[in-house]
């Protein structure tokens, strides 16, 4: 018996697998845990534990700069999410339904590239373009609008991937069935396609919202006076060293996001289970 088979028989595989997964998750979650723990540290120094305290949270509530930046970031993230989904639907449709048209490879490349392009490149090129536009057309001024444009470029790439995946697995018969029943193409889209891809639209929105909320580089290149986003504030503070108020902010963010992700996952899982049970019941009937 070879070594491989021997180990396999001993259940080594399963043990190793579980071990690797656990180690991986520890690696992924440890920094977050550290942030949370130290946000309650009385002492501003990371190395010294001064006892539990909520002082940093209290400071956070009074931090005008942070709160203004948060508000701006939320607005940009919201616009980014919406516009990414709208453009993403169009782009996904194009890629999935229209197999042959002039310049399809170019289009596909342009849609996918922002997924991997280094942000400094995207930021610089967009900024130069916007400055040129400003010289020729007199607008746009650097600020919320320009940051939004940058986030939309990257958001479009992510939204398209998500929506495209869902569109591809959609049964084409459904749209044909709607058509032969008398629905015009636009009606088919709103009455049949849209409801069925709705979940992916929500995913795409949340994904691009999060990415926009988290972005540093693009915001740095594209922002203007008075348009400082939350990540930029955090980044400039973080560069200077460890700041306990950031820990408090981080904990809150982690808390909110975790609650959202867990709740969302549970809801989806529950719906899946219900659905599977209904299908099984129908088959038995």
């Amino acid at each position: 018996m070879s070594l491989g088979r021997f180990l396999h028989a001993m259940g080594f595989n399963r043990l190793f697998g579980r071990g690797w997964l656990v180690a991986g998750f520890v690696f992924l979650y440890m920094p977050m845990a550290a942030l949370i723990v130290y946000s309650f540290n009385q002492s501003p120094l990371q190395a010294v534990w001064g006892g539990t305290s909520l002082r940093w949270y209290r400071d956070l509530a009074r931090d005008r700069e942070l709160i203004t930046a948060l508000w701006l970031s939320l607005r940009i993230a919201f616009y980014t999410g919406l516009s990414s989904v709208v453009l993403g639907i169009l782009a996904a449709f194009t890629l999935v339904r229209y197999r042959r048209f002039l310049g399809r490879t170019v289009f596909s490349g342009m849609v996918n590239a922002p997924l991997v392009m280094p942000e400094v490149i995207i930021g610089l090129s967009l900024l130069l373009m916007l400055v040129t536009a400003q010289r020729w057309l007199g607008f746009p001024e650097r600020g919320l609008l320009t940051i939004w444009m940058g986030h939309l470029l990257v958001g479009l790439a992510y939204a398209t991937v998500v929506i495209q995946a869902r569109l591809q697995e959609l049964n084409k018969d459904l749209e044909e069935a709607a058509t032969i029943l008398g629905a015009r193409p636009i009606q088919v889209f709103f009455l049949v396609t849209l409801p069925l891809i709705f979940n992916s639209l929500v995913s795409a929105f949340l994904l691009t919202f999060t990415l926009s909320l988290d972005d540093v580089v693009l915001s740095a290149f594209l922002s203007g006076p008075g348009a400082t986003t939350l990540p930029l504030v955090i980044f400039s503070r973080a560069r200077l060293g460890m700041r306990p108020d950031i820990n408090a902010a981080a904990t809150l963010i982690i808390g909110v996001v975790s609650a959202g992700v867990v709740a969302g996952s549970l809801i989806i899982a529950r719906n899946e289970r219900l659905r599977a049970a209904e299908i099984a019941a129908a088959q038995r009937a």
């Binding site: 697998g17 992924l28 169009l90 470029l153 290149f221």
Partner: protein, 320 residues
């Protein structure tokens, strides 16, 4: 039997007209296409132009000039020459690619078994596992990178752990940290930060590919006498090729131009082209120089980019 009335409303007639039917489809394609041309492709031309000119104070010199009846074309390649001549740029490009490659390697090394075991776990457990991988991804990456600062500075959890395990001796020997106990602002801290940040990007396409693999293929191989080890290397790995490449490109390409992580966790010894670009632009205010640096980066990543484009669709494809 009811006889359906033919095209009556304006909407009907509009839809019945062959011209509209062709153009309806065009409208869907054209909107994102034009948008991308303006905001993605056009800026690249501007960067190219910017790199071929120079700045006199704050005025950017034009390339094409028509003065006193003379049409003159002035393409300034000084910045490129400078990049080629100056040692620092060459070293920085290489260093960036090296860090990107190392990060990709470690992400693959840690991420492949991770995705593999996730895909082989109980089907009921998999959504939960997936959610646990996604959760850090949804929380701010900036904050998580920042958290590593705390972990690696003196007194931080990881710092203390590594010192206790005498790992720092090994790291000093490998020239990854300057001296014992000093983990921050070193090649080591940068690598850890990058691997940490990009690991989910490797895991997700790998998991997508591996979870779709037909396990019966492995059963068939076992029937034919292959050990699990052989089955893994000869069947599982080749079948997950698209996922490996997509994941690797998703890590490698952005890592080359990464800025935030080197800024927060890197140090004077870690040369990354993202920081150089940023400094040229924000600190030196030398836009043409920054543009030239950017153009060279673009040239470096064009091949991996094409690679990625080819495999990403395949990796996330749903088999109908």
């Amino acid at each position: 039997m009811s006889h359906r009335p033919l095209a009556t409303s304006f909407f009907d007639r509009m839809h019945a007209h062959p011209l509209f039917r062709k153009h309806g489809r065009k409208a869907v394609i054209v909107v994102p296409y034009v948008w991308l041309l303006i905001f993605f492709l056009f800026p690249f031309f501007i960067i190219l132009r910017m790199s071929l000119t120079d700045m006199e104070g704050v005025v950017i010199q034009p390339i094409l000039q028509f003065k006193e009846g003379i049409l003159s074309l002035a393409i300034n390649v000084n910045h490129y020459l400078f990049i080629l001549k100056d040692d620092l740029y060459g070293k920085t490009y290489l260093s960036s690619m090296r860090y990107a490659a190392i990060t990709t390697f470690w992400c693959l090394f840690i991420g492949y078994p991770f995705s593999y075991f996730m895909a082989r776990a109980r089907p009921t457990a998999q959504p939960g596992l997936l959610m646990m991988v996604m959760l850090p991804f949804w929380t701010s990456f900036l904050l998580r990178v920042y958290a590593w600062k705390g972990l690696l500075t003196e007194g931080g959890w990881v710092c203390r752990l590594l010192v206790a395990l005498h790992v720092d001796d090994l790291l000093v020997r490998l020239d990854l940290i300057p001296s014992q106990g000093l983990f921050m602002n070193t090649p080591f801290s940068l690598t850890i930060g990058m691997v940490y940040t990009y690991l989910p990007f490797m895991i997700l396409p790998l998991y997508a590919t591996l979870s779709k693999m037909d396990l019966r293929l492995l059963e068939a191989a076992a029937d034919l006498g292959a050990t699990p080890w052989v089955g893994f290397w000869k069947i599982t790995v080749p079948l997950s090729k698209a996922g490996i490449i997509a994941g690797s490109m998703l890590v490698f390409i952005p890592c080359i131009g990464e800025y935030v992580i080197p800024e927060l966790l890197g140090g004077p010894r870690t040369l990354m082209i993202g920081r150089v670009l940023w400094d040229e632009f924000f600190s030196n205010n030398d836009w043409p120089m920054a543009a030239s640096v950017a153009v060279v980066v673009i040239l470096l990543i064009i091949v991996p980019l094409a690679f990625f484009n080819k495999y990403q669709a395949e990796a996330t494809e749903v088999r109908t």
